[in-house]
Symmetry: C2
Subunit: 229 residues, 2 copies
């Protein structure tokens, strides 16, 4: 006999994606109106079911793409949620994934598909099942992650101002940061390239644009950043 697993219970395995977005208004989360029962028409995370021939990472990518058109988003596994009655229709365990993306540079896809919508974190509607709990846990993880890696760089447009970067961190950490301390901390990491170009859309003076020095970043990532701000 190859195995004696036959008497074991099988369950549905869902994957739910918590996609945080960042733009000038702050942190947002991407939600869809569920188009099947149960809870049809209610707001939900982007979710679907694992198929036998894929792993969880692949399922997350497929589901996200299918419901939003988003591609090439790196998601990180968050947690497996398994309360017995979390889905009233059937015993389902859900593995949550999360990612943080720059809204502006992905909006075209989202608009085209028109299935998903951004909601401010503070004013998001109540979600189905345990999805609110998933979002809370993802926020907590994001905060912790933000201080150990310069997570923000992957979420901004290619060229960005210091102010934008600071706003991103303020949004993630949910507190005001001192401009001077923030800039000197970022500069001490030595992973930004200051461009000869200014963003003139916000102020009369204009703010220098920066881009992210991928090589230096990759070198540093090995021995671990300290990005405590």
């Amino acid at each position: 006999m190859l195995n004696n697993y036959n008497s074991e219970d099988k369950v549905l395995l869902a994957v739910d994606c918590i996609i945080f977005g960042f733009d000038k208004e702050g942190l947002k989360v991407l939600l869809v109106k569920r188009d099947f029962e149960p809870e049809k028409g209610k707001w939900s995370l982007i979710g679907g079911f694992l198929k036998k021939e894929e792993n969880l990472d692949q399922a997350a990518i497929r589901i996200l793409h299918h419901l939003t058109g988003l591609n090439n988003i790196y998601m990180e596994q968050l947690y497996a949620f398994s309360k017995v009655d979390r889905d009233p229709a059937e015993r389902t365990i859900s593995v949550a994934y999360y990612a943080l993306i720059d809204i502006a540079s992905h909006s075209r896809n989202l608009i085209r598909m028109n299935a998903a919508q951004w909601h401010n974190l503070s004013s998001a509607p109540k979600l189905i099942f345990d999805h609110d709990q998933m979002v809370s846990k993802a926020i907590a993880r994001l905060e912790r992650r933000a201080v150990s890696k310069p997570i923000g760089f992957e979420l901004l447009p290619e060229k960005f101002t210091m102010k934008q970067l600071q706003r991103l961190y303020e949004a993630i950490l949910n507190k005001k940061l001192d401009k001077r301390n923030f800039i000197s901390k970022v500069n001490s990491l030595d992973i930004l390239i200051k461009l000869d170009e200014k963003d003139m859309t916000v102020s009369r003076k204009g703010a220098y644009l920066f881009k992210f020095d991928k090589e230096k970043y990759d070198l540093k990532i090995e021995d671990g950043f300290n990005f405590k701000i």
Copy 2:
């Protein structure tokens, strides 16, 4: 129709427990010889399958108790492992849990059951499936966790010496710590009670015993420890 989940794939959901133990020799991991196919007779983590009527935390507790006799162990969820062919017998996703316990204070149960054995981390045998990968991930998590919470206190006998506490941290972080710096760091946290009692078993001079001040600990945990050593 209550739901349209009918066409979705169902899978087996395993739970594997990585139990780290600590005694004077250092960090160990608890392993069992697998007594069913596939891979019968090979070393494995403590594992089993989720049942429909329980959640993952409950499954982990049940499985651990069933295979080792261990009770009242707080385990934390680590990660869901989902490579398609990770178990050659059947499509199985495994959610790993981990815990860290004091070997001495739990050894009676383990000896009685005699199913599980402690192995030094450095000399553990090769494990089945992706279990080695699970152990590596758990070690990495333990290290990170050790600096954000004084994790060690829950793993020592009720009364312990500073030396024991330091040894525990040295084992988790896998590096030597300076005695004076360690003690002053621990003292600055103000969560230990120094007892009027000495451990005379190790030295002629004897070392003062301490215990853990649960109340102060709980107060501190709210605004987060900084236990970076």
